[in-house]
């Protein structure tokens, strides 16, 4: 009796909703710092704010013990150039990382300066970052003294950046020693430790609450953020949070273009909960957003391709040689020491491989030759790295139960055989514009983690969360009280509960697919002014015709319905940002038929969009608006205390 229909078959009726239904109840919470989203960035923000001695409330849609992309774990602590084994200068590394246009130089500088401190604090509160049990003695990259384990990722080349697969010589590392900036960690221990520390510090945690909107001073769009509203997604209770400062850390949106809401496990690289709520509420509150026109095509984890991490050669398969069906070695990088962590073949090698496949020189499918590896390296990759993300631990366990033994078996690689055409599936980037305090353009609203317009990784989220938390705490100390406008709350309540007032119409899955379809038609590979405008009309029609038919039968489906409304907003933001950029751009994966010139110099700038009195306003910022990264970081952090020494 563990499936829903078992109950029907046995009792003739479904189980009753297991939680009390309290749609008509309302709770008010007052705090100094409100953290929205209890993932990696959010938990760190809550901890660092609480350590400043202010009252903190943390609101999380799931349960902060394992919620978010980083909840299940993490095996690479990326970009910690300040670690004791690093051979590069953190500021130089930061500059290198921020070199690609449209990077968030502010977040990157913070990460490079404070990432190691953050990891040390992670260890203080119970996270495992060293091979203390000497399980991997003799593995390359393991430092005998500190027992830290360096990863081959980014050791010489930095393969995330297109065209940068050549070794880069850093001024601070003239002899070209291994950079040693990425650390292998036991990240499955991190999230429970973060929640425990939040509790220990007295952070008030509100799990299973979806934040639905930001409250602004006098209810005015663009004014100071003074709180937020929320919905308990188990009981349906309404929550009103009053705060002096807020940190937005709900990460991005990974399902806007996904038609199929089933198969979520293999459809998206993020859980169902990541639906762009943060960016949608910041937009409605009047914050300026940037890089919203960028979308990325994902080949992995789309449901149309194999499951992420499921095949040899996927991320984290370090030092695994790739061979063809006859055991012939391919010029495919091993993501290991021999090719300095490169994750994809160079364009020339790729050409060789494709030609080889076509000529019969290489036979499909390819395999990862685990048995050829040194025993200790195999254990590091298969047992430690893959074991430290719950997501991939399943893979080890399930394959193991199925009989897979890496000492004897070659694991299949799915390149080519699952097709090389991209699926109609995109991830959407962008986020609020931030300053050197990670403050958005709205007073009282700070931003951290993937929520900021930056590529996401665990350590970026941790260090920017920790930073935003202390800045928000400082702000809250001097911020005056503000009054919440009753009308703003009343209007939001009406919006939130509309779907449960209906008992018929369309459900969240149908609306989700409808929104995704509109985005696929009008805002994908081929963009023109008229298509983008049709896209806005299409979403408006959905808003006016279909949203009023949206219905939900319980608090969980009500949350999913409200997420659709976030997706709808997110689509509108992307379309408006796309209309504002009248040029194509490679780094933004943004191509307009009517403006085919790629990256013309006068468009090398951030485009921003925001709502002002309900009207869309586009603006721009110079690409280097963060200024001199080192100088600005130092000017804004004169009192930075490094690793936490308090109780």
């Amino acid at each position: 009796m563990t499936r829903w229909h078992d109950f029907i078959e046995k009792d003739g009726k479904p189980p009753a909703w297991p939680y009390p239904i309290n749609y008509d109840r309302e709770q008010e919470i007052e705090t100094d710092v409100l953290v929205i989203g209890g993932g990696i960035a959010g938990c760190w923000a809550a901890i660092s704010a609480a350590r400043k001695g202010v009252r903190v409330a943390l609101v999380e849609k799931g349960d902060s013990i394992r919620s978010g992309a980083g909840g299940p774990g993490c095996d690479h602590w990326c970009n910690a150039p300040a670690n004791p084994l690093s051979n590069v200068d953190p500021d130089e590394w930061a500059e290198h990382m921020a070199e690609p246009p449209y990077s968030n130089g502010i977040g990157i500088q913070i990460q490079c300066r404070e990432d190691w401190d953050t990891l040390v604090e992670m260890e203080q509160i119970g996270g495992k970052i060293r091979d203390t049990k000497d399980e991997f003695t003799g593995a390359k990259g393991r430092d005998e003294k500190s027992k830290l384990m360096i990863s081959p990722r980014y050791t010489k080349v930095h393969s995330y950046i297109p065209g940068s697969q050549k070794p880069i010589t850093f001024k601070s590392n003239p002899e070209g020693k291994l950079n040693n900036v990425v650390i292998r960690v036991w990240g499955s221990t991190f999230k429970p430790a973060l929640k425990k520390e939040c509790k220990r510090l007295g952070v008030k945690i509100y799990d299973r609450v979806m934040v639905t909107s930001l409250l602004t001073e006098k209810g005015v769009q663009g004014a100071r953020v003074i709180g937020a509203t929320g919905l308990n997604n188990r009981t349906g209770e309404f929550m009103i949070f009053k705060s002096k400062a807020a940190v937005l850390a709900t990460a991005g949106d990974w399902s806007l273009y996904v038609l199929n809401t089933e198969l979520a496990g293999y459809n998206t690289f993020r859980s169902r909960n990541q639906t762009g709520d943060g960016v949608a509420m910041a937009w409605r509150a009047g914050a300026a957003l940037t890089v919203m026109e960028r979308t990325g095509i994902m080949m992995l984890g789309t449901g149309y391709k194999h499951t992420w991490y499921g095949g040899a050669g996927d991320a984290s398969y370090e030092n695994v040689p790739i061979v063809d069906a006859n055991g012939k070695r391919l010029p495919w990088p091993t993501q290991g020491w021999e090719d300095a962590g490169a994750m994809r073949p160079t364009p020339e090698d790729m050409e060789k491989i494709i030609k080889g496949v076509q000529s019969g020189e290489y036979t499909l499918p390819f395999y990862g030759d685990f048995p050829a590896m040194a025993e200790v390296e195999r254990r590091v990759t298969w047992n430690m790295m893959l074991g430290e993300e719950s997501t991939t631990k399943n893979i080890i366990d399930s394959y193991g139960k199925g009989g897979f033994d890496p000492a004897r078996h070659l694991l299949q690689n799915y390149n080519f055989i699952e097709g090389t055409s991209p699926s109609q599936w995109r991830s959407a980037g962008g986020g609020p514009v931030v300053d050197w305090d990670l403050k958005s353009t709205l007073d009282g609203l700070y931003v951290a983690g993937e929520q900021s317009y930056s590529a996401g990784d665990h350590s970026y989220a941790a260090s920017t969360g920790r930073y935003a938390g202390r800045k928000a705490a400082e702000f809250s100390r001097q911020a005056g009280d503000a009054k919440v406008l009753k009308d703003q709350v009343t209007l939001e309540k009406a919006r939130v509960y509309a779907p449960i007032k209906r008992s018929d119409g369309i459900d969240w899955k149908e609306l989700h697919a409808g929104i995704a379809r509109a985005m696929q038609y009008f805002c994908s590979e081929y963009k023109t002014e008229s298509l983008l405008k049709m896209g806005l009309d299409a979403l408006k029609e959905i808003e006016e015709v279909f949203v009023p038919r949206l219905y939900a039968i319980d608090p969980h489906k009500l949350m999913r319905s409200l997420e659709d409304l976030s997706l709808l907003n997110h689509g509108q933001i992307i379309l408006n940002a796309s209309l504002a950029r009248k040029a194509s751009s490679r780094m933004l994966n943004f191509f307009r038929i009517d403006f085919p010139k790629v990256d013309p110099p006068d468009w090398n700038k951030f485009v921003t969009v925001k709502l002002e009195n309900g009207k869309v306003k586009a603006g721009e910022l110079p690409l280097d608006y963060c200024g001199n990264m080192k100088a600005n970081y130092e000017a804004h952090n004169k009192d930075y205390a490094s690793v936490y020494k308090g109780k």
């Binding site: 078959e9 395999y367 719950s390 004897r408 070659l410």
Partner: protein
């Protein structure tokens, strides 16, 4: 064959059974209900029994429920057919699959 009552039920979603509970081991502590970030489960109406899989279509296979279960053997993963891996024995060349 004993006659089972046939109800008119909609199709089951895909995936429909992301995990399998083993009621002889599981004591219904509901820890898995708490760690699941998308609320795939609800507690069983009967105390002490394994949770009910209410939203299997929302599972993203993060594994937290299985890996954090305090009673080993209570819950196992059940990969959907299309997600199961292939591998090959290096010595014999035989292609194998997770066919549990």
């Amino acid at each position: 064959m004993a006659q089972k009552k046939t109800y008119a039920l909609p199709n089951v979603t895909t995936p429909g059974t992301p995990v399998i509970f083993h009621p002889e081991v599981c004591n219904g502590c509901n820890h898995c209900v708490e760690v699941c970030q998308v609320d795939v489960y609800i507690p069983n109406p009967e105390k002490g029994k394994p949770p009910v899989i209410l939203h299997p279509d929302e599972c993203w296979y993060c594994g937290c429920c299985v890996n954090d279960c305090p009673r080993p053997g209570s819950i196992t993963f059940n990969w959907p057919v299309q997600q199961r891996a292939y591998w090959k024995d290096k010595a014999t060349g035989k292609v194998l699959r997770d066919s549990q």
